[in-house]
């Protein structure tokens, strides 16, 4: 089973990297995972899809565990163990689709997991998670940086939501960046990224950009408009993976926006 699962995960990762296909609209959806888990059909693919989603949202879970006072290594082990636990016990098969959201499901499951001292001790004794999700050093460092940045600013649930928002937009930006790269427009994406992602410095003037890129202002405007539209779709598609309905996409974005404006 593990070999099949690893293969499925790798397939997903390749797809994410644009090697197998390139698409602004990811195919892995939480609702599909839940449905597959319930029906029992193709459980390995459901596991792989869930593992892929978990990979994207590893950092929010890690920051939550860290906010509970665990050390860096313990938090890494616990986060890995949590994923192993979710997959191993097919916890998602018990998820209530009507309540919908992947974010709520993961947070509630993590809280239960952490509250279960026996599970935690057992997994730590095992030396932490050894399977399912390869943990990259860079990923772990980014997650720790995220925790250090926001720790102490707000409560642990809000910290989780904020980290979630960051993981969400990162995934959308990464996907969009891949698309532009595939179209050999990586430089254009990097030059115009500030118009969607903001930043500490004000965006360059159109005059500066038209000179630098050697295009007219009307062409530049058109590029920026298209980039915004494509990013919007990529972001909504990313949210769509974690909720059940289009209405929930709106709710999810509004909720996360609300969390950010509270900090």
């Amino acid at each position: 089973m593990l070999a099949k699962l690893e293969k499925a995960i790798n397939m997903n990762i390749r797809a994410e990297n644009g090697q197998a296909h390139s698409d602004l609209f990811p195919s892995t959806h939480w609702s599909v995972v839940v449905a597959a888990g319930r029906s029992g059909a193709e459980p390995e693919m459901a596991d792989a899809a869930l593992a892929e989603l978990c990979r994207v949202y590893w950092a929010p879970l890690y920051t939550f565990v860290r906010s509970r006072g665990h050390t860096v290594h313990d938090a890494q082990d616990l986060t890995q163990s949590f994923f192993a636990y979710v997959l191993e016990h097919r916890v998602y098969a018990r998820a209530d689709r009507q309540k919908g959201r992947f974010r709520s499901f993961l947070l509630a499951s993590l809280k239960n997991f952490l509250a279960d001292a026996a599970d935690r001790e057992r997994t730590l004794k095992r030396g932490g998670a050894q399977i399912f999700l390869p943990l990259h050093e860079e990923q772990a460092q980014d997650a720790e940086a995220l925790f250090q940045t926001y720790n102490g600013m707000t409560n642990e649930d809000r910290l989780f939501d904020r980290s979630w928002a960051e993981a969400l937009v990162s995934a959308a930006l990464e996907r969009l960046s891949m698309e532009y790269k595939r179209e050999t427009k990586e430089q254009l994406f990097n030059d115009l990224r500030i118009f969607i992602a903001g930043g500490a410095e004000p965006p360059p003037t159109y005059a500066e950009l038209t000179n630098r890129l050697g295009i007219t202002e009307s062409t530049l405007r058109s590029h920026v408009t298209r980039l915004r539209a494509r990013y919007r779709e990529a972001l909504r598609a990313e949210v769509r993976r974690t909720v059940d309905t289009e209405k929930q996409v709106d709710q999810e974005l509004r909720e996360l926006l609300h969390v950010l404006t509270e900090i």
Binding site: M153, E166, A197, G198, G199, A200, P203, T205, L253
Partner: protein, 467 residues
């Protein structure tokens, strides 16, 4: 309850919210995902009091802009049958049931609506939706762009333009002072430059009203109300502020207009606050832009940390700006007089051009005549002129072939006038004339952006002598 300031988090230059650890603005990024939603609210939310949000051809709401605090729509006043700008702010769920919050918003908005001045965008009406989910206010609809957008598009302004704008903003502040109103969020994106060269300050006094409507939801975050980059040091403390805070913000706004930069940028709220209170002003930025010494001195005093060292009132500040303008005019007096005379000649050319605009034969004759004039001059110094002229001709021919429909009639008139006058050595054609930038022609871009048209002065001398 207010939350402590974020530590080590950057601040977005667009919306003022904290940046992510990677330097991205999550708020801007998430808001982009909602843009479509914002543009298409539920039908029930299209009407606010006497106002109805207008729709585009595709049925979406006609959004004029959105900021950290709400969305502005083009709307119709159903009673007075006029168009207005309608700002709609969603009230956070926690504050919706509060009568006190509603009363505070209405009180502040009422004070803002009482202010009437040519340099202030008038607030016509305000209110809250029946279900208390939104508050709104209808403002005078202004055709134009913000100062921030102008600088972003065209780069920094010269001292004369900045002073003209600054004086009008100061007049708005004087009017506000007579109503005991403080803006609290004066910044380049709250300054509208109208199509007829006027200036209107928007959102006057509404920062406080909106904050009240939002309960704990401040315009930005933490204890802060306003936009950190342009706010006065005392605003960071959350304590009482007075009109001198607006003078500080106006100083920062003018600094931005002159340099394209904020005087004290920073990646975090704390960094901005520290720079405002500890770092010296980067006056070299003004020097590099050749800002007159008197204006530099005035900006330094307006940006003083201690409010007591700033101009005591908006009137005092405006008088100082007026003095700067007079000094500047004296300095360039001779040149201005000459330019005025030539402007007159150019105005005649413009009138003539308007008559020729719809007559291709007349256009062709005009070009032929201009071409002969140019050919009569020694070639080398006028090489650029020649290329410019040829580009103009290509534009006009293309326009006549319907290939450049995006070139407006106004732009065409400018082109023809330039041809009639042969060239525009005195920068009489505004840089924001629509045809500029529409053409992929390196000569035009170079000539316009580098102001190399000044090299054609010699040609003007020749033309005047042979007239």
């Amino acid at each position: 309850m207010r939350k402590p300031l974020a530590s080590g988090v950057g601040v977005c230059s667009v919306c003022g919210k904290p940046l992510s650890a990677k330097g991205d603005c999550l708020t801007c990024l998430l808001r982009t995902g909602l843009e479509e939603l914002v543009a298409k609210p539920e039908p029930a939310l299209r009407a606010f009091g006497d106002f109805e949000v207008e729709q585009r051809a595709d049925g979406s709401c006609w959004e004029l802009g959105h900021g950290a605090i709400g969305v502005t729509y083009l709307a119709a006043d159903k009673v007075l049958r006029r168009r207005v700008a309608l700002k709609v702010i969603e009230v956070p769920s926690a504050a919706r049931g509060s009568q006190a919050v509603r009363d505070r918003f209405l009180r502040e908005a009422r004070a803002a609506a009482a202010l009437r001045h040519p340099n202030v965008a008038a607030v016509f009406q305000f209110g809250t939706s029946p279900d208390a989910t939104h508050c709104y206010y209808a403002m005078e609809l202004i055709e134009g762009e913000t100062l921030a957008a102008r600088v972003r598009r065209d780069g920094p302004l010269n001292a004369k333009e900045a002073l003209k704008i600054g004086i009008q903003i100061a007049r708005a502040l004087i009017a506000a002072a007579s109503h005991d109103l403080i803006h609290r969020d004066l910044k380049p994106s709250n300054i509208m430059l109208t199509n007829d060269s006027g200036v209107k300050v928007i959102d006057f006094g509404l920062a406080k009203a909106i904050t009240d409507a939002g309960g704990d939801m401040d315009l930005t975050h933490g204890e802060f109300v306003g936009t950190p980059t342009f706010a006065s040091p005392e605003q960071f403390g959350g304590g009482p502020v007075d009109a001198r805070s607006d003078i500080y913000a106006l100083g920062g706004t003018l600094w931005f207009a002159l340099t394209g930069l904020a005087p004290h940028p920073g990646r975090t709220l704390e960094e901005i606050r520290d720079r405002k209170t500890r770092s010296a002003l980067p006056v070299a930025q003004l020097m590099a832009r050749r800002v007159p010494e008197t204006l530099v001195k005035l900006l330094r005093s307006s940006l003083a940390i201690d409010p007591g060292r700033r101009p005591a009132s908006a009137r005092e500040f405006m008088e100082a700006l007026e003095l700067c303008r007079r000094n500047l005019a004296r300095r360039i007096g001779g040149r201005s007089e000459e330019a005025a005379l030539r402007s007159e000649a150019f105005a005649r050319a413009l009138t003539d051009a308007k008559a020729r605009a719809s007559d291709p034969e007349s256009l062709q004759a005009l070009f032929d005549s201009a071409a002969k004039k140019a050919a009569a001059v020694s070639k080398k110094p006028f090489k650029r002129n020649w290329a410019y002229l040829q580009t103009m001709l290509r534009l006009i021919r293309a326009y006549n072939r319907d290939e450049y429909r995006q070139v407006s009639n106004d732009a065409l008139v400018w082109i023809i006038a330039a041809l009639n006058y042969l060239v525009d050595p005195f920068d009489l054609i505004p840089d924001n004339t629509p045809f500029l930038g529409l053409v992929d022609d390196a000569h035009v871009v170079e000539l316009v952006t580098d102001k190399t048209r000044r090299t054609l002065d010699a040609f003007m001398t020749w033309e005047t002598a042979t007239r």
